[in-house]
């Protein structure tokens, strides 16, 4: 029997039972579309988190004072106080070619008041002009801290977008003076709303030059140093260089901890990808359920069509012909469901994308491949038993029973 005729025969049988065909295809379609939708959500979460971190800079190394390392042995006689990180430490890191930019960071809190008498306890960040670039900050108004000697304590500040509204309402903040502790600062810029929710909340703080912060808080030590490596490949070399350079400056004591933001992102990405696989796998179970449904329906069909199968065999159909007819029918059922599921799944993803534009849902290619191949192979696998049963029917018995 010609393959095309087998095909036509199977299609004819599916069409004559269109209600049954539709219902079974629906089961497969639900399976396929749920796999696609759920993996799209997982992928969306993954991309969302990545996007958030990437907007903070992926080549970022964060240097913290002190070593987070558990060392065995008896406790030292003298308390091991790590040496403070200083602004000079920060700039010393630039000696290494793989480290492109540094921004020393100091953090403190102080009451900030306006000439109008509004006062607010505010997180104050002491840093330098490089922070704008390293943290990918955007300005809404005015300018960021001016570049220049980091030791110069200029009396200027940059406000986060929320803080600017709190202090000055709808009136222009740039050019106004604010008082922080016992010092006065002129507002030279307001940050744009970053929308980023991980890391530091830049919307509700004031940024002043690091030297001014040292004076304001009356201490030298830095909270941390932000370092940007030239490229992603430089991260490892950069990290080693930091340890070496700091050790040189701290009398041979490598007493800092370096965190690569990239490794945090990657770890999170791995967790989310695993989660996506898991969710996709769970929904793939529904495809196997659909496969079992296909098998049942095909078995019922074999029973209902005993006379037809008997006739085909009497008329000289080979065993392989009969088997193929039913296999193709099962496969077509699965394929129909898979295609409908593909369309529905992609459409549903599109709807989610329209409803939540900030959430970057996307159906990953692997999930399409997996969903379709699982759907088709369940059709194939669960089609085997009915097809065999059909082929094994005794034509005499099949024809005599009415």
């Amino acid at each position: 029997m010609h393959p095309l005729d087998v095909f036509r025969f199977a299609i004819g049988s599916l069409r004559s039972n269109w209600r049954r065909t539709g219902l079974i295809a629906l089961a497969t379609a639900i399976g396929v579309s749920s796999v696609l939708l759920l993996t799209a959500l997982g992928e969306g979460a993954n991309r969302y988190v990545r996007g958030q971190f990437e907007s903070l800079g992926t080549n970022l190394l964060i240097v913290l004072p002190g070593r987070s390392e558990t060392v065995g042995g008896p406790p030292p006689l003298l308390g091991e106080t790590p040496r403070d990180l200083t602004v000079d430490d920060a700039y010393a890191l630039l000696q290494h070619p793989s480290l492109q930019q540094v921004a020393p960071v100091m953090v403190g809190a102080a009451p900030v008041s306006t000439p109008a008498g509004l006062e607010r306890e505010v997180t104050i960040l002491g840093s330098t002009s490089e922070m704008l670039d390293i943290q990918r900050l955007q300005m809404a108004y005015g300018q960021f801290l001016p570049p220049g000697d980091p030791q110069r304590a200029a009396s200027v500040c940059v406000l986060g977008s929320e803080l600017a509204v709190h202090l000055f309402g709808s009136s222009t903040a740039v050019g106004q003076w604010v008082r922080a502790g016992d010092r006065r600062f002129r507002v030279i810029g307001v940050l744009a709303d970053s929308g980023v929710t991980v890391g530091i909340d830049f919307n509700d703080l004031a940024i002043i030059p690091v030297a001014s912060a040292q004076a304001l808080f009356n201490r030298e030590s830095l909270f941390r140093i932000l370092v940007e490596a030239a490229t992603e490949q430089d991260l490892d070399a950069g990290e080693k260089a930091i340890h070496r350079l700091i050790a040189e400056r701290h009398e041979g004591e490598d007493d800092v901890t370096v965190i690569a933001q990239d490794s945090v992102v990657k770890t999170l990405g791995r967790v989310l990808t695993t989660l996506t696989y898991g969710v996709g796998g769970i929904s793939a179970i529904s495809l196997i359920v659909a496969g079992v449904l296909i098998m049942n329906v095909m078995l019922v069909s074999v029973t209902q069509r005993r006379a037809e199968i008997g006739l085909l065999k009497a008329l000289g159909a080979r065993l392989a012909d009969v088997r193929r007819m039913f296999m193709v029918e099962a496969l077509l059922l699965a394929t129909l469901g898979a295609v409908v599921g593909l369309v529905v799944g992609l459409a549903a993803t599109q709807v989610v994308a329209e409803l939540y534009p900030k959430f970057p849902v996307a159906v990953p290619l692997w999930s399409i491949v997996v969903a379709l191949s699982v759907a088709m192979s369940t059709g194939l696998i669960f089609g085997v038993i009915p097809a065999r049963r059909a082929a094994a029917l005794d034509p005499i018995e099949a024809l005599s029973k009415r």
Partner: protein
Amino acid sequence: MIDLRNITKTFVLGEQQVNAVIDVDLTIGRGEYVSIMGPSGSGKSTLLNLIALLDRPSSGEYRFDDQLVTDLSDDELAGVRRHSIGFIFQSFHLVPRLTASQNVELPLTLAGVAPVRRREQVERALDATSLSDRAQHRSHELSGGQRQRVAIARAIVTEPKLILADEPTGNLDTAAGSQVVALLEELRIKQGVTLIVVTHDPDLGQRAERQIRIVDGRIAKDVHASA
């Protein structure tokens, strides 16, 4: 054409062995018109199934068209049926979702005949059974007599050497029945095929040139009636 030697068919029913056909010797020549009659349970259907290559004898030898078919595989037997035997059943056995012409086409499709040749042969068969105007009807749109004529067209479309009709008029009224019989007899003469009719209707059986009567699995009577 058909040469049965010592054919016995035994069924096992529960713990009992039932001999449906016992030690039958039968030779039927090309172009013969044979009726096989007998009461129900006499083994005539079993004999028909054996002749039709739908069933295998428990013992004995069967030569179909000078070929020993007793030890052919299922697929080889299917091949002989496909090319050499046309079937007509009491309950027509048309595939309900297919049109008359598609039903007639079925044996050709199974034999892998090319579509163009298929169409020609189907047209010829429908023409021979005066069904050309019913080609696109499905079986529920046809009368019993028309359905059986579709079945006859399906049986002759491969131009077989042997046509086996199992109670061809059993589900038909007298008028439609005699039409169908007339058609079968006409086709037999035109195409020179061997025609075997199994029936327990004596009127139908007596029309055949050779009448075989089966009782209890044995040939009780084998009469050549001069037409």
